[in-house]
């Protein structure tokens, strides 16, 4: 008995045995509520949510609104007017930036009228010539990060222009340039408030947890209902999606400011505003700027998904070409998105690490040399573009703007490649596909679907109890019970099966790769760089090569998931293994361990909690990607979320489905975090 209490694995073994017995005993035909929870009033929850939100939009707090164009007074609600105003402001900002880059009239219209535009031909914003933008990117890169960064930024811009993707790329950029500052500002403010007010932080914490584990699609649905469809809706859903990590990092950074610095600020006579803006936020600058970096990444990842609700740009084009199975085009677009993501990521990181130079007491032209250089190039390229359009009035002006049809394209090459691949590897790939689906995936799916609700809940509760006591048991059981009460238990099981399969494979690949790479400092650097780079790819992009190679099937979704989810597993393994304290390594060396002993006896045990956090990330990444995989076609929760996006009353359903996915993630997250915290305490590395 003593043995049993002491050894958790023994408890687990008993738990699993009981689970197995329960699963076999409960019969689908006669099991009733033990097998699947029957329809209850809980199934009405989506409708309740729907009605509540509808009420909020249509009937709550009715006010009279005067419409100046039609000269009538209408009834409207506060919520409607609020969302309308927000939409207007966001749309105006996007259009302003977009027209600065691409030219247009909408901004001018906003201040005048359509008649004014048709009367005055000159009343439009001219597009920036692409060489000017490329030079701008080059200069910004040089200014922030030196030669390498300037070449990366400049070359990426040139690639986008030359390959004829200028218009969608600038549309995406304008969208990102609006969403990022809004997210950053909101995140900073909410983070600062949470820092000042304990109560606010307590309310915010669970909301952030849920928000960060809701799949991207689930955000789109309420946004469509509240804000409609279009660029602004895309930007708003992006802001909602990208703000939580910014809040987190702001709060983290502020909390890390040493108490003495706070006291020094107070004793210097700062009032509370000065303390926040002059002392706290600047001191937490590093974490906050990492937050900005995160926001940029999230925005680009969301840029593709937001095209489902009408955001223009690369994401939309990508979606169209994937729908038409134009792999070559999709690949080029994917490269453009990745390039924008990588360039913005690197630029923002360089900005985070850049320090102001107060030493220099420079004259005006040296202090502003970058701005002046850009101004010069802008004038020069504009003149060239203008002159060229005079000289060749009918020809395409390559120095000004390259249209999609006139750009280079490697599309043909890729299409041929894909054809070649399909004809030559068809047998092999199909064989593999067939084998995996019939011998691995289908049996696994069957096994998961045969899990009775009662047995599953028992397993979950038991695991929670063993890992973190009664409190954990209650928390995780509540999460899973919520799903069991909805009509989508079977769908959730399919999601769980896909996630389990992907996570197991990802962890095996990721951990082995991590262990191997951590053996040499050089390989460590390389693998971390690879992880960094892959992590900046918007998740959607992973689907392109997979569809190209494996066609449309469950397996290709899973492969995309595995590729995507292996990144955190690898990264955390490498980090965990290389961060083992030097003193312990030395102690090991002096005890005369060989390489294998060092790995098994010193490094792995100490790195294990960190690796588990990596596995936690792997689970979250996998869930996100599985839901995105619904775009290719799966039959899990993601598919239903996609469906509710196009249904008139899908809002409630979409939100509840999103919560189901989030709760799976949160349950795993809770278990792993609790375990890792305990383990770190035991090891004394908390």
């Amino acid at each position: 008995m003593q043995y049993f209490i002491k050894h958790k694995w023994a408890q687990f073994a008993v738990l699993l045995a009981v689970f197995y017995v329960l699963a076999t005993v409960i019969d689908p035909a006669t099991g009733g509520n033990w097998w699947r929870i029957q329809e209850t009033r809980f199934w009405l929850l989506p409708d309740v949510v729907n009605n509540a939100l509808r009420f909020l939009i249509d009937d709550f707090w009715v006010v009279d609104v005067y419409d100046s164009e039609l000269d009538i007074t209408e009834e409207s609600t506060v919520v409607k007017e609020f969302t309308r105003t927000v939409s207007g402001v966001v749309l105006f900002s996007i259009n302003l930036i977009r027209e600065l880059l691409l030219g247009g009239v909408k901004t001018v219209v906003a201040f005048t009228s359509w008649e004014f535009i048709s009367e005055h031909k000159w009343a439009r914003i001219p597009a920036l010539p692409w060489p000017a933008v490329a030079a701008g990117a080059f200069i910004v890169g040089h200014c922030l990060g030196g030669r390498n960064l300037s070449v990366l930024a400049g070359a990426s811009t040139i690639y986008i222009a030359v390959f004829g993707q200028w218009t969608p790329a600038m549309q995406t950029l304008s969208f990102v340039l609006v969403a990022v500052p809004i997210s950053c500002f909101l995140g900073l403010m909410l983070g600062a408030i949470a820092y000042k007010s304990k109560a606010f932080e307590t309310i915010l914490a669970p909301l952030l947890n849920v928000a960060q584990s809701m799949p991207h699609f689930a955000y789109l649905i309420p946004v469509v209902i509240f804000f409609g469809i279009g660029d602004h809706a895309g930007a708003i859903s992006t802001v909602i999606f990208a703000t939580p990590p910014m809040i987190r990092l702001t709060l983290l950074g502020l909390k890390k400011v040493p108490p003495e610095v706070l006291e020094a600020g107070t004793m210097s006579g700062c009032n509370s505003r000065q303390l926040m803006f002059r002392v706290l936020i600047p001191s937490a600058r590093h974490d906050i700027l990492i937050g900005v970096n995160q926001v940029i990444m999230q925005c680009l990842a969301m840029a593709v998904i937001a095209s489902f609700i009408g955001a223009k740009g690369l994401g939309y084009e990508l979606l169209v070409s994937l729908n038409m199975l134009k792999i070559g085009q999709a690949l080029e677009l994917g490269v453009s998105i990745v390039l924008i993501a990588v360039v913005l990521d690197r630029l923002s990181l360089a900005w985070a690490n850049k320090q102001a130079d107060y030493l220099a007491d420079l004259p005006f032209h040296l202090r502003h040399k970058h701005s002046l250089a850009f101004l010069g190039i802008l004038i020069f390229t504009s003149v060239i573009a203008y002159v060229a359009s005079m000289v060749f009035p009918d020809k395409v002006n390559y120095l000004y703007f390259i249209d999609e049809a006139q750009g280079f394209s490697t599309e043909k090459f890729w299409d041929v490649m894909v054809d070649w691949l399909i004809t030559n590897t068809y047998q092999g790939v199909q064989g593999f596909n067939f084998f995996m689906i019939t011998s691995v995936l289908m049996p696994m799916k069957e096994a998961f679907l045969s899990m009775p609700v009662a047995a599953t809940l028992f397993l979950v509760a038991g695991t929670g109890y063993i890992v973190g006591g009664l409190r954990s048991a209650v928390i995780v059981t509540a999460f899973i019970a919520f799903i069991a009460l909805t009509p989508w238990w079977d769908r959730a099981l399919i999601t769980a099966y896909m996630a389990t399969f992907a996570v197991v494979v990802s962890v095996i690949i990721g951990c082995s790769m991590g262990i191997l790479c951590s053996r040499s400092p050089r390989a460590t650097r390389v693998i971390l760089l690879v992880c960094d780079t892959f992590q900046t790819f918007p998740s959607f992009v992973y689907l392109i090569p997979v569809i190209m190679l494996f066609g449309v099937s469950d397996l290709s979704v899973l492969i995309a998931v595995i590729v995507y989810a292996t990144i955190p597993a690898t990264r955390y393994t490498v980090e965990g293994l290389t961060n083992v304290p030097q003193a312990l390594q030395d102690a090991g060396s002096m005890s005369g361990v060989n390489r294998l002993q060092r790995l098994l006896k010193i490094e792995l045990p100490l790195a294990f909690p960190h690796i588990m956090l990596g596995i936690n990330q792997t689970v979250i990444f996998a869930l996100f990607m599985i839901i995105i995989g619904a775009f290719i076609g799966t039959d899990d929760l993601g598919q239903l979320i996609m469906q509710s996006l196009s249904e008139a009353n899908g809002m409630g359903q979409g939100i509840i489905l999103g919560l189901c996915v989030a709760f799976i993630g949160l349950a795993v997250d809770h278990l792993i975090h609790t375990w890792a915290e305990q383990r770190k305490q035991v090891l004394g590395i908390a």
Partner: protein, 350 residues
């Protein structure tokens, strides 16, 4: 120093008690602090009934080991934390009754503080760090920079104005901290273990630097340290704290010569007395019948500095006051006893 003038800092029965129940328990007991009851309720006592005064231009060192409540006491007096019970007056004004505006005002004009780990803002240069208290007061950039440059010169950091804190050594960083705390020309100067994070040699150098600055500026100082030698070296008076209680508060010489408690005595035992005590503390009675040596020493002189000449004299040496009058005698016997004798067998003359 005269006691007739108003003290700059005056603490009366100051208590700081940590714990959620502390306020409630004190309220229940009718405002009276009963430490036993508080301890029973799981409260932690930071400062226990501290009463003392600091006068203008005086340097009071609060000395205690970690956890003795010395930093807590300092934070009560700078009101970085709220005092649980008692009164604190700054220049006669009730500190604890001040609202936020008055508090900010007093900090902007009257108080300066130096911190153990320097607490410099990492994103600001030396000059900007020093100018911060001036700028939050609303001083113009050029004025504040001029003043900050003066401070840079005062702490001898000229040439490093535009360095960032991370580019400076610990000693240099603390010089910046000192300059920042003095930028607003405060009357009261708080120093919270300012040299504890420094290497011993640098610490010594910084103590000299501190004494140099203090001899020029004559601030009223509350200096917290855990280093008894440092306390002896710098203090006009020392308050020794243990478990939140001030065990003894007196001049360094008196503390060494007559430690009030066994706890205090444990610190004084190791102190080389000849380096701390002045001649007047050990001199014998003078009567004019004695056959005196030609040599005289000042009563202020530290024993160590005059030991050698006294020991070489056959006859007793006269000890003179500031007017040159002989007020006591020292002979080789007394000196030998001080230098080599038992700690408890010191003659005590005052």
């Amino acid at each position: 120093m005269s006691t007739s003038t108003q003290p700059v800092i005056k603490c009366e029965s100051v208590y700081k008690i940590f714990g959620e129940n502390a306020a409630r328990i004190i309220e229940q007991s009718g405002g009276k602090v009963e430490t036993a009851a508080l301890l029973e309720a799981g409260c932690v006592i930071g400062v226990n009934n501290a009463s003392f005064e600091v006068h203008e231009g005086e340097l009071l060192v609060v000395m205690g080991l970690s956890g003795s409540g010395k930093s807590t006491l300092l934070r009560c007096i700078s009101r970085l934390i709220e005092t649980t019970a008692g009164n604190i007056h700054i220049d006669g004004d009730d500190l604890l009754a001040m609202n936020d505006k008055e508090l900010i005002d007093i900090r902007r004009n009257k108080m300066g503080m130096v911190f153990q780990n320097f607490a410099l803002l990492p994103h600001k240069t030396v000059l900007e760090n020093i100018a911060l208290p001036l700028q939050v007061k609303g001083m113009s950039t050029s004025d504040s920079m001029d003043r900050a440059l003066d401070m840079v010169n005062l702490v001898e950091l000229a040439g490093r104005e535009n360095y960032f804190p991370r580019q400076l050594s610990g000693g240099q960083q603390q010089r910046v901290g000192i300059a920042r705390s003095l930028a607003v020309e405060p009357d009261i100067w708080f120093l919270d273990e300012p040299f504890s994070a420094l290497d011993p040699l640098i610490r010594r150098e910084m103590q000299d630097e501190f004494l140099r600055i203090q001899s020029a500026l004559k601030k009223t100082i509350l200096f917290v340290t855990h280093d008894f030698d440092e306390a002896i070296r710098l203090a006009d008076r020392i308050a020794i704290m243990k478990d939140g209680v001030i065990e003894q508060i007196d001049t360094p010489a008196n503390i060494i010569l007559s430690p009030a408690t066994e706890y205090v005595a444990r610190f004084t035992r190791e102190v080389p007395r000849e380096r701390v005590l002045s001649c007047q503390t050990i001199m014998g009675k003078y009567d004019d019948s004695q056959d005196m040596s030609d040599l005289t020493v000042s009563q202020e002189a530290i024993i160590e500095s005059v030991a050698k000449p006294i020991l070489t004299q056959q006859k007793p040496v006269g000890v003179t006051d500031s007017e040159g009058e002989i007020v006591g005698v020292l002979n080789s016997k007394i000196m030998a006893n001080v230098l080599f004798g038992d700690a408890n067998s010191l003659p005590v003359n005052n």
